[in-house]
Assembly symmetry: C2
Amino acid sequence: MSRLFRKIHYVEEAKKLFLDKINEIDLCIENVELEQALGRVLAKDIYSKMNVPPFNRAAMDGFAVVAEDTFGASEDNPIELKIIGESVIGKPFEGKLDHGEAVKIHTGAKIPDGANAVIPVEVTEVRDMQLLVFSSVAPNDNVGKIGEDIKEGDLVLKRGVILQPFDLAFLKSIGVTQVPVKCKPIIGVFSCGDELTDDVNEVMEKSGKIIDSNRLMIKTYLKKIGCRVLDYGIVRDNVNELKNVILKAMNETNLLITIGGTSVGEKDYLPLVLDNLGEPGIIIRGITASPGRPLILSIINDFPVISLPGYPVAALIDFLEFAIPIIDKMFGIRGERVLTTVRAKLRKRIPSKPGVRHYVRVRLINVDGELYADPIRITGSGVLSSVVNADGFIVIPEDIEGYEADQLVDVILFRELIGVWNEKDI
Amino acid sequence: MSRLFRKIHYVEEAKKLFLDKINEIDLCIENVELEQALGRVLAKDIYSKMNVPPFNRAAMDGFAVVAEDTFGASEDNPIELKIIGESVIGKPFEGKLDHGEAVKIHTGAKIPDGANAVIPVEVTEVRDMQLLVFSSVAPNDNVGKIGEDIKEGDLVLKRGVILQPFDLAFLKSIGVTQVPVKCKPIIGVFSCGDELTDDVNEVMEKSGKIIDSNRLMIKTYLKKIGCRVLDYGIVRDNVNELKNVILKAMNETNLLITIGGTSVGEKDYLPLVLDNLGEPGIIIRGITASPGRPLILSIINDFPVISLPGYPVAALIDFLEFAIPIIDKMFGIRGERVLTTVRAKLRKRIPSKPGVRHYVRVRLINVDGELYADPIRITGSGVLSSVVNADGFIVIPEDIEGYEADQLVDVILFRELIGVWNEKDI
């Protein structure tokens, strides 16, 4: 049982140590229609194939003119031009404008050939088809020049970006119709433990079995962040079974996530297999997280395995802390992921053990217009209802001894909406 | 042109005014497998059909005993019990325990019939098959009682919750296999304007046409938040065409979003139709947002229509500010949506016009370990590249005159990841 006393790692230190050992992997590339590309990861840098604006256009409502014609114009000495037509967005003036002529123009419309400025409507007056101009403009005044926003050939979007609705719209606006995206990473998932079952009836019959809920949680999370999942089901506490399914996953997937069987105990089959299937084996065993301590991170011949604890809340916390940054790095996702947080006042003091990073589930409550975070009383350590009933959690790092009542804290949200539970529900 | 001077509404005031006029609508209900329910809206309250834990279970590793047998036990005066078996999670002890007997038990395993407490392994010693107990326990000590976390019949999840991975796992853990969810709301979308095209080649030929990128942006956003979209394409600036497509949408959808044609100008066809198809017609016309001013919100015989401006950035801002809360209210989504924000220092002063709510796009930059928000210089007002190249935006409310350099501000993120662009890219 000496492993019990083995040094366990601070959370951030463990994360850095493991992330430094993994590299971005090559995923295949597929071309998809823009409408299908939401949430996918851009596989190549995108360069614009056109200028934006694609032509010189009016930046104000007014009249397209030859700037030089207006020189010397003033309130007392207006210059007279002949209106020869109109340029509207979608219906540009087709002819060419000459000295002494003007074309009525709308913001965004194409500047006719021959014109080089727009005179604002406010400093003009129309009499019959004649335009009186009471002020001068310089060449290029009130003209949005071709390529002013984006030039043909400009790098407009970098590989690794997770494509958002406005990225797709932007790509469409510069003439892109299909986009190269990375194939979805394939992630293997299994739960491990003789006590687990997927069959609710086995539990109803009071067999002492436990429903395997973790696997569904991790699978749906992975799908939510854009991964494909290979589900290897429940694996029994048996060295050969574990060995076979891990070898299979090493062939079929980019990354394996196992759940359960990570505690230091009598049936140490999973750690045994992880440490003996290839080099270097287990990198991290145990972190200073509560919940979330019995995390194992391994690399087996370049193949990473994340072994989450079997307690559901611990599995969730470690998934968020470790699996997501690992997935982001392996699959070359650009940028730093930000968890949704809100600032709230603590409703009561939270003590914490030094050297342990606590994840404290809280509800957010509106008290007289101020947002308060109310820590949830936890009965069972592995009970998911404490997450379901929470709005989010507060992290108390290893070097801090608790937070005081009324202190401002950042609450990391479990959900996109808060206040799902009202104060009176509590 | 008197409408130009019509009173426009403050953003929050406009939102409240319109939200107060719309009600939650009835959507049909479908039962789906848990694996398919991610992101769906729960349609009915869920009550637990079982106790959690489903039986009395050990809260520590040790021995299940009759508590009364241990009374009087001490370091000097151990009590001797006979070990008659073992209870493991998934393999409970089948027999009944009697006075003078003990069953070895693991945390989480079922307490055998007859036992009423667990004596921790630390205060025991095993000699042959005999157990020496050096301390006493009271009845129920170290026992997780049946139903302690959740009782059969407890309300465990409320209607209106957007189902997250842990909700699904939690439901599975209490024996639920299918879940009633609301049918996806159907939202109609069209763009309006003679200048718009979906065909990139029309633009390449310098026709002066503009690619309709907004519709794709709004459609994919709606899909992202769990709606079904009916796409009515591009509608020309023509009263009859507009009338027909709006009447069609009133029949086929729960809500209509139109894009473009909302500015006060010469071709006022859309406002005309919106105000004359039914009662009460236009509720809000124009808000104090920049960008985002020419928003129109209408109700036509109980059918809400959101008319977004045609400039892409304005359309996006108004969609986030108005369409999402309207959708949440109409479809009975529980809780208050929180936008992902980070706090950063402003890199330079941002001036703003009093009475106008400014949405300032910024990039987030790491300067010597501190996060700074750097406002983006905008050239064209409708240019989506200013969103694509941004990390998020800062809101300057109507009653504040700009923010100073180095002031701490909340940046609402456009993306889930920040720092997509490095400082050197700028």
